[in-house]
């Protein structure tokens, strides 16, 4: 039973971060906080990829004499792409929040809804 938790500790940590981010996105009404939650949610997936690339007792993937077992670098490379995508998403999301603030004068979801429905 203990093995079930300690043997997969990286997954448990990732799931906790993931749920924290996901919960923030859903529960917060502040648009900036939602973006922050989205970021945390994405970071957990980056960690998932990076941790599955690790090979037990594997060395850093740089070719060196006398080393035969390397960690898998491919997930790291993949996640570099995903990080770039995440940065772009965050930038675009925050830019939208700025425009929403200019148009509505608030970044609270509830206030925006009341303003739209009172039209």
């Amino acid at each position: 039973m203990m093995e079930f938790f300690t043997g997969h500790y990286n997954y448990w940590l990732i799931i906790i971060i993931m749920m924290a981010g996901f919960y923030t996105v859903i529960s917060r009404g502040n648009l900036v906080k939602k973006i922050a939650g989205l970021n945390i949610f994405q970071v957990s997936v980056f960690l998932l990829y990076i941790s599955i690339g690790n090979v037990t007792d594997g060395a850093t993937p740089i070719i060196e004499e006398g080393v035969t077992l390397y960690s898998n670098p491919l997930p790291h490379v993949l996640i570099l792409t995903a990080i770039v995508v995440g940065v772009a998403t965050t930038a675009l999301g925050l830019a939208l929040v700025v425009r929403i603030k200019e148009a509505y004068g608030t970044i609270e979801e509830d206030d925006i809804h009341t303003q739209d429905h009172s039209l």
């Binding site: 994405q42 998932l48 599955i52 993949l78 792409t81 998403t89 999301g93 929403i100």
Partner: protein, 493 residues
Amino acid sequence: MIESHLSLLIVVLPLLTAPFVAVLPNGRLPWFISMLASWSVFLMAAIQLLNVSNGSVISYELGGWAPPWGIEYRIDSVNALVTLIVAAIAAVTLPYALKSVADEIPSHQHSLFYAAFMLCLTGLLGIAQTGDIFNLFVFLEISSLSSYALISLGRNRQALTASYQYLIMGTIGATFFLIGVGLLYAMTGTLNMADLAQRLPELYNHRTIHTAFAFIMVGFALKLALFPLHLWLPNAYTYAPSVVTIFLAATATKVAVYVMLRVIFSVFGFSFIENTPANELFLLLCVMGIVMMSFYAIYQKDCKRLLAYSSVAQIGYMMLGISFGTALGITATMVHLFNHALMKGALFMAIGAIIYRVGSSRLEHMQGLGKHMPWTFMAIVIGGLSLIGVPGTAGFISKWYLVQAAIEQQHWLVVAVILFGSLLAVIYVWKLVEVMYFKPANEAAIPSVKEAPALLLIPTWILVIANIYFGFATEVTVGTAEQAAKLLLPGAH
């Protein structure tokens, strides 16, 4: 030389056009260059479809790296047809864009608008072309990010919140897909779809594979707006600029349906899906979506929102075909994919022409417009008939195959729902017709409304005539769709 790189050029051409257009001065030049690019892409997509129409498969190795290590573009009848749909809609939408964009978007943003449009096109074409599941994620994000930017350019401030809402839900969907891909990679060590398909069967009973499948399905159900994950769609379609609505409604969800087809049938294989509850779940959600979203459409007061809800219902029809898991079902899905792009493209173009003249898409502002804008009105009528599925229009062909597929499965309730959905479509299309033709015009407000300019009418009518043409000439659509069904379900024939 060019022939052998065709598959890559289709994606690279709009990708290179985007930064080029972005640095051009505002004016007509960015529009013209984008239009040339989209027409070339359309031509190449047509040649590509001809090349694979005999059932052959093109495998293009990016940068000469052999699959499964390198990225592979794998073209067969399935994605060649989807690429052609996307390219064709872009080629028809861009001529339309000149006047509509000039009217709806501030002139200092035009070159950036066309750059974002080209990026969105790149992303959608890339999703359709690629045979690598991680590459698919990258293209998905290219198309999504550019479509968030495009939607936010709408003239009301609600466009901003609609875009934000779509950004949050779209990113969650894409991240779910990424989790699924990561789990697949952890289990198989490959990202190439064809390679995955070979390695997955021996792992069918593994729990991680089931989890990966669930994540990918939920992620893409969000992207394609499958009921009840459709909440972003009505706002996004309603508040986006007309050109963006036309393009996204006719292509974005279709490409997402294609990914569903590819993942379910090519990567996992239907024998895997049969042992999961996914099939019954899809069937249930589709049936609920068709009925509820059609009812929602009836009660809308804005015709763009009305058509948006109708789109969610139509996505239900497409997913129904997938959930049957039969050759006939896949044929129905592929045919409807094509036909729905035609009808929604035509309808949103006609609505865009009304917005160009009246400045609003609310039903009360459209009263009596039928007499002032007869050509636009006729386009809405014919597009609407196609949406209902009246014989003689493209919509009838897809409904026909879908009903046949349901009868083959003896799902009598589903047959009833498909027909009931058409009945509800009659009501909401009639609502448009009634407002435009039978309600007295508010003469004080619109005495000077003229017919839309030719540059808006010609693309609209190209799609309207295509709706009628493909209602009679079914060799292209049904032929390719049957070919696609053979490729996706090799055992069924």
